[in-house]
């Protein structure tokens, strides 16, 4: 390999934050025009590595060689000047601005070098959106878009920048299967035009379908680099986790299951927003004790509203919700918790956690009296810390102490904190939304095990996910939502991806 083929080389990159070692030693060669996947568990250092390339962090040791020249990347502007474009995992958009304004934020087309040329900006945004088939309205405020659409704006922003080396930090974490396929096609197109793409993911299907080569990072070290064609998904998974991985699931275990009485009953639940648009359209279903009911659907078809209606966070305008035999249609969140609700919301940072509060306070939030943390009505600091420590151990929350702000943890470990808190109540019904969004294999495996274990203990589980593989792996029955309607509920035994996929797009499945 000559220098000409290599656009980027990292030599012995290390990074420490105080006493915490984020990267020990990473070596990486990225060839011009390839799609190179970086794989690794949460906390392995993928994001730190990418932030170093994007100029957000400075390496503590090592060398970055770009186009054969050693470079320093002191800040994100320098990264742009070097032709490195970054799509972040968490959105970096201004919700009150339109799509077009977000795309050209800080680099609007100018008229007379002074006034921003809105017409040109909107035209260019529309043209970009069309070119990549993103179907975005340039004049729509970003705050009104669905999570999936916002992600597309985020990706388009980097594409608009015309970067030579495009870094995508888990771009598919929030996309639906068809959207992922579209993105993978876009990436193919970019590669055909000679762009180099560095793609961070832990979804093995994407690794196999999109990449030329794959580098696995574990505990801050680059473990291996392979041509993707030469390795199997199992090989990559083993490198990532450092051991053999068993993907859990109910599919094919052959066990005959019997379920108890319905724990959750929805009867013609309807919700309209303030503009009179129907968000939930007369949804009725039951979830029985010991059963995992999966709700599949493309993001933004009412799943969020459904989960919030059941959790008591959004009011419904019609129908009734019954939980453990109690009518909770008008009940507060606390009353529903009392009746047996456990709720794992889809957005950990938004609904799930108070990110600046400590791990202890987050895990204790609803559990002060239940977990015996109070003494004579006051919080006993020793008991609080002991409770947190026991949960940290039980749920394998890595890098955490009781007093650690929960926002310092990686996504997977944050999710473990949420799950630890909600399971502490031993809820009869567990509503789980997008539980492994943004999580890697190891953490997803852990989360899936916990969900199935809860069902096996006789809890009813409502699993809402836009990740079809997850729905299929865990569910006993599968409901499909489209445009606020529950299209159909299928038994796992008769459901297949084609049927569910058709229903997800609003079509009536042929296989009735």
């Amino acid at each position: 390999m000559t220098d000409n083929d290599t656009i980027l080389s990292l030599r012995g990159i290390a990074k420490t934050f105080g006493e915490k070692v984020a990267l020990k030693r990473v070596d990486l060669d990225v060839r011009r025009g390839e799609v190179h996947v970086i794989c690794g568990e949460n906390g392995a250092g993928k994001s730190t590595l990418m932030n170093i390339l994007a100029g957000i962090h400075q390496p503590s040791a090592g060398e970055i060689v770009l186009n054969g020249e050693p470079v320093r990347i002191p800040d994100p502007i320098a990264a742009s000047a070097h032709g490195i474009g970054m799509v972040h995992q968490h959105f970096t958009l201004v919700p009150s601005m339109t799509v077009a304004e977000n795309l050209f934020l800080g680099r609007q087309p100018r008229r007379l070098g002074l006034f921003s040329d809105r017409a040109a900006m909107v035209d260019r945004a529309r043209e970009l959106s069309l070119r990549y088939n993103f179907g975005l309205d340039p004049n729509a405020p970003v705050g009104q878009l669905s999570v999936g659409q916002r992600q597309r704006v985020e990706i388009l922003k980097a594409l608009a920048f015309d970067a030579k080396l495009l870094i995508l930090d888990e771009p598919t974490a929030v996309l639906t299967p068809p959207e992922v396929d579209e993105l993978l096609q876009v990436i193919d197109g970019l590669r055909a035009r000679g762009r180099t793409i560095l793609f961070i993911t832990h979804k093995l299907r994407e690794v196999k379908s999109v990449s030329d080569r794959v580098t696995v990072i574990r505990h801050g070290e680059s473990i291996s680099t392979h041509r993707t064609a030469d390795v199997s998904e199992a090989d990559i998974a083993r490198d990532m986790v450092g051991r053999d991985v068993f993907l859990v699931g109910r599919k094919g275990d052959g066990a005959a299951r019997s379920f108890g009485a319905p724990v959750l009953k929805l009867d013609r639940v309807s919700m309209t927003n303030s503009h009179g648009r129907l968000l939930l359209d007369a949804i009725s279903f039951d979830v029985r004790a010991g059963e995992v009911m999966g709700i599949a659907g493309v993001d933004g078809n009412g799943q969020t509203e459904l989960s919030e209606a059941i959790a008591g966070l959004m009011a419904i305008q019609g129908g009734a919700i019954e939980l453990c035999g109690r009518d909770v249609t008008r009940a507060s969140v606390a009353e529903r918790q009392e009746a047996g609700l456990g709720f794992i919301p889809e957005d950990r940072l938004d609904r799930g956690l108070g990110v600046t509060m400590s791990v202890a306070e987050n895990v204790a939030a609803t559990n002060y009296s239940r977990a015996g943390i109070l003494r004579h009505g006051f919080v006993d600091r020793g008991r609080l810390d002991a409770f947190a420590a026991s949960k940290i151990k039980e749920f394998d929350v890595r890098g955490a102490q009781a007093s650690t702000p929960v926002g310092w943890l990686s996504g997977g470990n944050m999710q473990k904190v949420v799950i630890a808190r909600e399971l502490e109540r031993d809820p009869a019904l567990l509503v789980v939304c997008q539980p492994t969004r943004g999580l890697d294999i190891g953490a997803s495996e852990f989360v899936h095990e916990r969900i199935l274990a809860a069902a096996d203990r006789g809890h009813a589980v409502l699993l809402i996910s836009s990740e079809l593989s997850e729905i299929f792996a865990l569910s006993d029955r599968i409901g499909v939502m489209y445009s606020g309607r529950l299209m159909r509920v299928l038994d796992r035994a008769v459901a297949d991806e084609a049927t569910v996929g058709t229903l997800m797009n609003g079509g009536e499945a042929v296989a009735a």
Binding site: F17, I56, L313, S332, V333, R351, A364, A365, G377, V379
Partner: protein, 342 residues
């Protein structure tokens, strides 16, 4: 314990550094305008402790500042940017005065609690209005608390001038409240209100309530992330309104204790912007109740010290405004160690 001590040192290191730097810069300034910079600075910092009388005035100054700062801490911890301390203070003062003037015949055991309760209730009511408006109608609390300040200031001005004015006295002051309910001075410090002891106790109580009760944890959760608080079943709206009730109540108590312990009557201009200074104390203490007690004492020392300095040297007392401004700047612009994580 060692870990706790270290984190405590870390927490107070930055404010102490900022104060030291402010003092050093201020000294250069004083040296440039007077021949006796050492004398001026000595008066600014230590004249408060020259006599028992000065010390009493210093404690009297710190009392309303502490109580208002504690109120601000409650509201800020619940995520409400309450800048209505001044109005709540005035409401508490006028309510205690009205009760103390009009019901002067009641025995002290009834009248004193009644006057204090009236002050607390008036302040709490003034905190309740923006709290409810924010929670129910999403009205911005900065606007409502600021507006209420003006309303209350003008309303008390009307009351003191037209209804309860002491016509025999000079200036816009009310009649005296019943002497039976004047607060006793602090033991050992004649002239210092025992209200200061109340403020110290309430600082400790505030810390316990915020950091050692479930109610406090819920209040802070609502302040940190409202959507999170709702999702975990915290009655966040109720906590926010309660926090504003407590915040207003504490500022109202500051007004009532001022009237009962220091002024003995309502004076139109009794507050040198206690509301604003109390807010600054709370922010400098990083909305921590024990820290706020310290910053309130510091501000009281500076405010009174500036007066002594002006008397004995030719340094104008407005220097202290400059110093406190500089301090706020240094505190908020303090250097951070980059602690970003990937």
């Amino acid at each position: 314990m060692n870990e706790a001590a270290r984190s405590f040192l870390r927490a107070i290191g930055a404010p102490l550094g900022a104060i030291a730097l402010t003092m050093a810069l201020g000294f250069l300034l004083v040296a440039s305008i007077t021949d006796e910079p050492v004398q001026a600075y000595r008066d600014l910092l230590f004249a408060n402790f020259d006599s028992l009388g000065n010390f009493a005035l210093f404690l009297n100054r710190a009392t309303p500042l502490t109580l208002i700062a504690l109120g601000v801490i409650f509201s800020f911890r619940a995520g409400v940017f309450n800048v209505g301390g001044e109005g709540q203070l005035y409401a508490g003062a006028i309510a205690a005065t009205v009760v103390g003037v009009f019901f002067a015949d009641l025995p002290a055991v009834i009248l004193l609690p009644l006057a204090v309760a009236a002050g607390i209730a008036a302040g709490a009511f003034l905190g309740w209005i923006p709290g409810v408006l924010k929670v129910r109608l999403a009205v911005d609390e900065v606007v409502t608390t600021l507006m209420l300040n003006t309303i209350v200031l003008l309303f008390t001005s009307y009351l003191v001038n037209q209804v309860i004015r002491d016509t025999s006295a000079y200036g816009a002051v009310s009649r005296m409240v019943a002497k039976s309910i004047w607060l006793p001075p602090m033991p050992g410090v004649p002239g210092a209100t025992s209200g200061f002891l109340v403020a110290v106790v309430l600082a400790l109580v505030t810390w316990v309530v915020l950091f050692r009760t479930e109610w406090g944890a819920q209040l802070r959760a609502a302040g940190i992330n409202l959507r999170f608080a709702n999702a975990v079943g915290v009655p966040a709206n109720r906590r926010i309104i309660s926090a504003m009730l407590v915040a207003g109540g504490l500022a109202g108590l500051a007004g009532a204790l001022y009237v009962l312990g220091i002024g003995h009557r309502f004076e139109q201009n009794f507050s040198p912007a206690y509301g604003l200074v109390g807010l600054t104390c709370a922010l400098l203490a990083r909305i921590h109740p024990i820290g706020a007690l310290a910053t309130a004492l510091f501000y009281a020392m500076m405010l009174n010290g500036a007066a002594y300095m002006q008397i004995s040297t030719d340094v104008p007392r407005s220097l202290v405004n400059l110093l406190t401004g500089l301090l706020v700047l240094l505190m908020t612009a303090r250097l951070r160690k980059s602690g970003l994580r990937g």
